[in-house]
């Protein structure tokens, strides 16, 4: 007799597919936020599964900070072509030119991408946005709903969230309000990697180790390229590195690694003792509450 028990990955997969279908059925204009990172890749792969053999019934949006690794853009476009998707690009450099946002000291465009995102949501009248955030990432996320209610300003108010019981999600909103939807809420970093390995999901090439010229700054390893050129007195080193997260090219650090395939990455992740953001994201180290603050402003 069969056991009728799903493995934990297939259980998470089923939960995510349910969420995609619920949103597609109930919301007027959903859209999926795609960054090219592993989480949004898994999210896209799950969206495909939810509606097969039909196409994904909503567009995807990329908030382009202008600081993308070129490989990521090529990778994004490949997915768009393969799945026959409609791609919307919300451009931060263009918004800077139009004077909507201003470059911040330190070169991070993490904060200024929020107004650009909000403008795009308003322009396209999206009432539901899928994001690849996970609750295990950070403590402001640990309390996030699967359906996260945002007001007319895109703001997250932790005190004004809807109870989520069973799998009865409530996406009802007034015009102008919206829901951020997190289908990967219950996945951990290890689940994401395990799923990528088990389902052979194609991920951006930078997640795999290769020899790169790097420079060490504040204890982090940055690839030397147009976004992070060498400063006076710095000398690049040739090291074998991979990326644990993919963000802006000027702020995302690499880690030393020999993992040239997914299985090897998975083995490293399983033994990891430092959180992925703590290890590689200069922009998340700011303060203990930085994620909470950014979410309040309308960030994912």
């Amino acid at each position: 007799m069969k056991s009728h028990v799903l493995s934990h990955l297939r259980n998470l997969e089923a939960e995510s597919i349910f969420i995609f279908r619920e949103v597609a059925a109930e919301m007027a204009r959903p859209c999926l936020l795609f960054s090219g990172g592993k989480d949004s890749t898994v999210m896209l792969a799950l969206a495909r599964k939810a509606f097969a053999p039909a196409r994904i019934p909503f567009p995807i949006m990329h908030v382009d900070t202008g600081l993308n690794f070129p490989e990521v853009i090529a990778y994004r476009d490949k997915w768009v072509k393969e799945l026959g998707l409609q791609l919307i690009v919300a451009s931060v450099p263009e918004a800077i030119e139009r004077g909507i946002v201003h470059e911040e000291a330190g070169g991070s465009r993490n904060r200024i991408q929020t107004p650009v995102l909000l403008e795009a949501i308003e322009k396209h009248k999206f009432d539901a946005l899928f994001g690849g955030a996970r609750r295990d990432e950070e403590k402001a996320r640990a309390k996030e709903r699967v359906f996260s209610f945002r007001d007319e300003f895109g703001q997250w108010d932790p005190k004004n969230q809807r109870p989520e019981l069973w799998s009865l999600y409530n996406g009802r909103v007034q015009p102008g309000q919206g829901i951020r939807v997190f289908p990967l809420s219950n996945w951990t970093e290890l689940d994401i990697w395990s799923y990528i390995a088990e389902d052979k999901v194609e991920i951006a090439p930078m997640y795999l180790a290769e020899e790169r010229d790097v420079i060490e700054r504040d204890g982090m390893l940055y690839a030397v390229n147009e976004f992070t050129p060498l400063r006076d007195g710095e000398a690049a080193q040739r090291r074998k590195v991979r990326y644990r997260t993919i963000g802006d090219a000027n702020l995302t650090a690499a880690v030393e690694s020999d993992a040239e395939d997914i299985e090897a990455v998975l083995a490293e992740v399983a033994a990891a003792r430092i959180t992925e953001r703590g290890a590689t994201r200069g922009d998340d180290r700011v303060s203990e509450s930085s994620m909470e603050d950014r979410k309040r402003e309308g960030y994912f």
Binding site: S3, H4, V5, L6, S7, H8, L12, A14, E15, F18, R21, A25, K49, F51, A52, P53, A54, R55, R135, K139, A140, A142, K143, P158, K159, Q161, R162, P163, E164, L165, W166, S167, L168, N170, Q174, T188, L190, D191, S194, E216, M220, L221, A254, V255, E256, A259, E263, L266, A267, E268, A270, A271, A272, R273, I274, T275, G278, A279, S289, E292
Partner: protein, 470 residues
């Protein structure tokens, strides 16, 4: 298993400073892997096959040591990352603690710290080679009843924590009641702070007896008791040497071995149609698939099905997933079903077996937990109602009684339910719902009420026997 020998931690003090991680250095696969961390030698296939998902809900207050217990589970199962631990160590020092306060791991939002409150359910994740766990961590006080109801609604196991010195309190009785109301299949009572009662078997036994007596008034399927010290680690992950009289498993081992497969309803086929898939494409012609998640029962190609509300019968042609067809579907699989005949079926309809149908009802009798702080549920009040994938409108016809959730007494003659109050309510719904009793089926036996002006989720409904008898 290797390393299963008792290795009791002496205290919650974390002695190893996290200095073994040079910056920018990738974690090495030869890093020390404990028995509780995914072992490097384990093949991928084994991990996939061997590990399932268990959802836990914890209830208890800070005073009961709940945060310490969760911190201990995360710490001892090696789920914690070095930078998380370093942050906790730093804050512990800043606050002048003598030891690393594992409770800080579950510290909440700044908004909560500033106001000294816990707003919400927080979700935590950890894994052992045997299982992946999701903890819905809920605050225990009565003003957070709605949070515990939320956390318990999806839980396989409720972990109730109490302080061995204080024994069973009103709060523990309330938690047990909520867990039983939400039909959590397994309830685990952890008697904490056993170190403060000299590891006394008598103290534990007397609490156990009193609780068993109380629980006999509730509908509890499986009840277990574990004497623990979350602070010192006794019986959390490893067997306590201080309580040789306890012959059961430590908490984590108990959770790993808990048999939950039979908790699912595999008898009554209920497939709420969630989304109709009709590709507009040149390669897939005339395809019409009914996508949804199996609420209960096992479906197979060839099975006869009855469609609600139309009452028409047909057969299952195929059960499909993006990875290909499957020969059966069971909860909680998300699949797409194609049928032998072209029928007019849309979201909110339900596929069932012809001789095993749910109750088709417009009059619903349910326990409702009220969750809205701005206005009470009132007789005559109108709300939107969501049941499986179906929305309708409902009016409150009567409130039979309110339950005093501390004493379990029924209070009759009430005409409203305020925030966190639970009562038995009769609803009239604008269109029929396809319901089962909640005790038979957590999916088709539950609903939410939504305020039609604010759009907030204001009530959680648990459908009772009376509906189904009607």
């Amino acid at each position: 298993m290797a390393g299963d020998a008792p290795k009791r931690a002496d205290s919650a003090t974390v002695r190893e400073a996290p200095t073994d991680a040079p910056p920018g250095k990738a974690p090495r696969t030869d890093a020390p892997a404990s028995e509780a961390a995914p072992a490097k030698t384990q093949t991928l296939e084994r991990r996939m096959a061997a590990s399932d998902l268990l959802r836990l809900a914890t209830a208890g207050s800070v005073d009961d040591g709940k945060s310490t217990l969760i911190g201990r589970l995360l710490f001892d199962s090696k789920t914690l990352f070095i930078d998380q631990l370093a942050a906790v160590e730093r804050v512990s020092k800043e606050r002048g603690h003598d030891y690393t306060d594992l409770a800080l791991l579950t510290d909440g939002l700044r908004a909560e710290r500033e106001q000294g409150i816990t707003i919400d359910v927080a979700y935590r994740y950890f894994a052992t080679p045997k299982r992946r766990f999701i903890i819905a961590d809920t605050p225990g006080h009565i003003q957070y009843t709605r949070n515990m109801v939320t956390g318990a609604s999806t839980a396989d196991v409720a972990i109730l924590l109490l302080d061995a010195r204080r024994g069973i309190t009103e709060q523990s009785r309330r938690h047990a009641f909520i867990a039983s109301l939400l039909a959590v299949p397994h309830i685990l009572l952890c008697v904490n702070k056993m170190d403060l009662v000299d590891w006394s078997e008598e103290a534990f036994e007397s609490i156990r007896e009193e609780f068993v007596e109380f629980a006999s008034r509730l509908r509890v399927r499986d009840l277990s008791f574990i004497p623990i010290s979350a602070l010192k680690g006794d019986n959390v992950v490893s067997q306590s040497t201080n309580m040789p009289w306890y012959d059961g498993l430590p908490l984590l081992r108990h959770l790993e071995r808990l048999y939950v497969a039979s908790d699912r309803n595999l008898v009554d086929v209920r497939f709420p149609v969630q989304y109709v898939i009709r590709p507009q494409s040149n390669t897939v012609i005339d395809y019409r698939g009914y996508a949804g998640t199996v609420a209960s029962g096992v479906l197979k190609p060839g099975d006869p099905v009855l469609v609600l509300p139309s009452g028409l019968e047909t057969r299952i042609e195929s059960i499909e997933t993006a990875d290909g067809p499957v020969d059966e579907a069971f909860p909680p699989m998300a699949v797409t079903i194609t049928l032998a005949d072209h029928l007019d079926i849309s979201r909110g309809d339900m596929l069932v077996r012809p001789h095993n149908v749910p109750t088709v009802a417009q009059d619903i009798d349910a326990q409702i937990c009220w969750m809205d702080e701005s206005a009470p549920l009132t007789k005559g009040g109108k709300y939107a109602i969501k049941h499986t994938t179906r929305w309708a409108r409902a009016v409150v016809r009567d409130i039979a009684y309110r339950i005093d959730i501390n004493t379990l007494h029924r209070v009759e003659g009430v005409d409203s339910l305020a925030l966190n109050e639970i009562g038995r309510v009769q609803l009239r719904v604008t269109q029929p719902l396809f319901v089962d009793t909640y005790s038979d089926n957590r999916s088709t036996g539950s609903f939410i009420l939504v305020d039609e002006r604010s759009n907030k989720t204001v009530g959680a409904g648990i459908i009772g026997r009376a509906t189904v008898a009607a």
